[in-house]
Amino acid sequence: MNEQRPGLTISSVALLVVLFLQIPVIVVMLASFSETSYLTIPPQGWTLKWFEAVLTDRTYIDAIKNSLILAVGSTTISLVLGVAASYAIFRKLVPGSEALTSLLMAPLIIPSVVIGVALLQYFTLVGMRGSFWVLLIAHVVITVPYIVRSALASLSGIDLAVEEAARVLGANGFTTFRLVTLPLIKPGLVAGALFSFVTSMENVPVTIFLAGPRDTTLPILIFTSVEMGVNPSVAAVSTLLIIATAIVLLAAERWTGFHRFV
């Protein structure tokens, strides 16, 4: 079998590419601990002052809070609506399942910036621009495809006979879903929910057109402050995000064998 293992050249190239993928992460983390406002290699002086600046700045705190509320809220709504819809489609309870799937997945295909401007115009027309609820609905639209995709994939992995067995054993439709179907698709849904959460957390192209001044999210804040130049407190808040992401990713891998669902 030795013959079919990748050789030294390919392995080294591959490892360099994997390293390339981590470079911005490393650089951001170094910059956030560095004394100087421009990062040098090797960094000169270590400090936590940028973190202090972030954690005492109301603008950052509010943005983090907004982002979390939005991500948790939209993921929860997407989960409920998306799983219900996926179940109806998968069990062919309604005709036209293929067309319906395409519609539910469409927000993934249409460029985000186009969705953003479309919603901007629309909510300006109906006079709801700047409302937090508009932002929440918009995030449901862009996150729901991830839930639908993982729900449909998980459902297709279930033996239909297992649900029938529950029915014959005396469970009604809802009990069957609660006791049998839902537990079986849960690992896939956790992965889908994670994608949904991340998508909401990092969205700029839709959010930037809709967020009112009080609803600024963290990525919008970073995005706009970068136009003013490189600021080490941006690096500090980015480092916090990197650490949070790493923890969530490892936890998800632990719980569900996450990498199988990507």
Binding site: P6, A14, P24, L104, P111, V114, V144, P205, H259
Partner: protein, 283 residues
């Protein structure tokens, strides 16, 4: 027909949300794109014009932005493919013990906030950034290289952003290549390179195509990275749409451009899904 009622009940909340906050807003872009924008006066709703669409091809500035976007898409796709294939190959065919850590290292940047990743590249690529400082320190250059606000910066940044997608697609494709087929080629006297060229590569072609389509579509519709690394002057289609809606307030022109971008992505995805279906039919 009890099942139909249950189904409608389960589907309608989401369908309502999508209709009200996705389908209708998108459709409303269409009439806007045929209206006329008069600087200083706003949008003239009484005139219908094709001017906004004609301009995309006719106006030199617009044409340059469109061509740049497409060129960027192609360049980023190719570099993702070239860099991604070895990684996918190592993950699938390498030591199984490396598989999980490597996969997680590939997924990790994908999970990381796009703005943060782009910011990382700014720290690296600006005039007084890490790369330029390093090159000056070791004496390779005297003045900082211009690595941002141009094609180089965008290519590096976008390749980094979309490489994980390509790797994951290629991993899936490579996993579907039966090892026995490669072994069979080896017993028939193929060299390693020939096995790759004659067996592995053609069998992963569907994955290569769908990965490339994905990266291309994502690249041409990207807003955040091009804006952060390209600044307000080095424009692509998405950043131009952004400016037309937020700064210039020329909504008709922005709508036409949005419309063109959306149609292009839908068309590419439609073509590719037809192609993959045909590939699946062959296999």
């Amino acid at each position: 027909m009890k099942s139909l009622r249950t189904g409608a009940l389960l589907l309608s909340p989401l369908l309502f949300v999508l209709l009200a906050a996705f389908v209708v807003p998108l459709l409303l872009l269409v009439p806007t794109s045929f209206q006329e924008y008069r600087p200083g006066q706003g949008i003239a709703t009484d005139v219908w014009t094709l001017q906004n669409f004609v301009r995309i091809g006719a106006d030199e500035f617009y044409r340059e932005v469109v061509l740049r976007t497409i060129g960027l898409g192609i360049a980023v796709t190719l570099s993702c493919l070239l860099l991604g294939y070895p990684v996918a190959y190592l993950i699938v065919r390498g030591n199984p013990r490396w598989r999980l850590p490597l996969t997680l290292l590939v997924i990790f940047p994908l999970m990381l906030n796009l703005v943060v990743r782009s910011f990382g590249w700014i720290v690296l690529l600006t005039n007084r950034g890490v790369v330029n400082n390093l090159l000056i320190d070791i004496g390779l250059i005297e003045r900082p290289l211009r690595l941002m606000f141009n094609m180089t910066g965008l290519m590096i940044g976008l390749t980094h952003i979309y490489l994980p997608f390509m790797v994951l697609m290629l991993v899936a494709a490579l996993q579907n290549v039966p090892r026995d087929v490669e072994s069979a080629a080896a017993t028939l006297g193929s060299s390693r390179f020939h096995i790759f060229r004659a067996v592995t590569l053609p069998l992963t072609a569907p994955g290569i195509i769908s990965g490339s389509i994905l990266v291309f579509v994502l690249t041409i519709s990207a807003l955040v990275t091009p804006r952060m690394l390209g600044g307000p002057t080095y424009q692509v289609m998405a950043t131009l749409i952004y400016d037309e809606f937020m700064l210039l307030l020329d909504w008709p022109s922005g709508s036409a451009l949005s419309f063109a971008l959306a149609i292009a992505t839908i068309f590419i995805i439609w073509i590719s899904s037809r192609m993959t279906k045909r590939w699946a039919g062959l296999a």
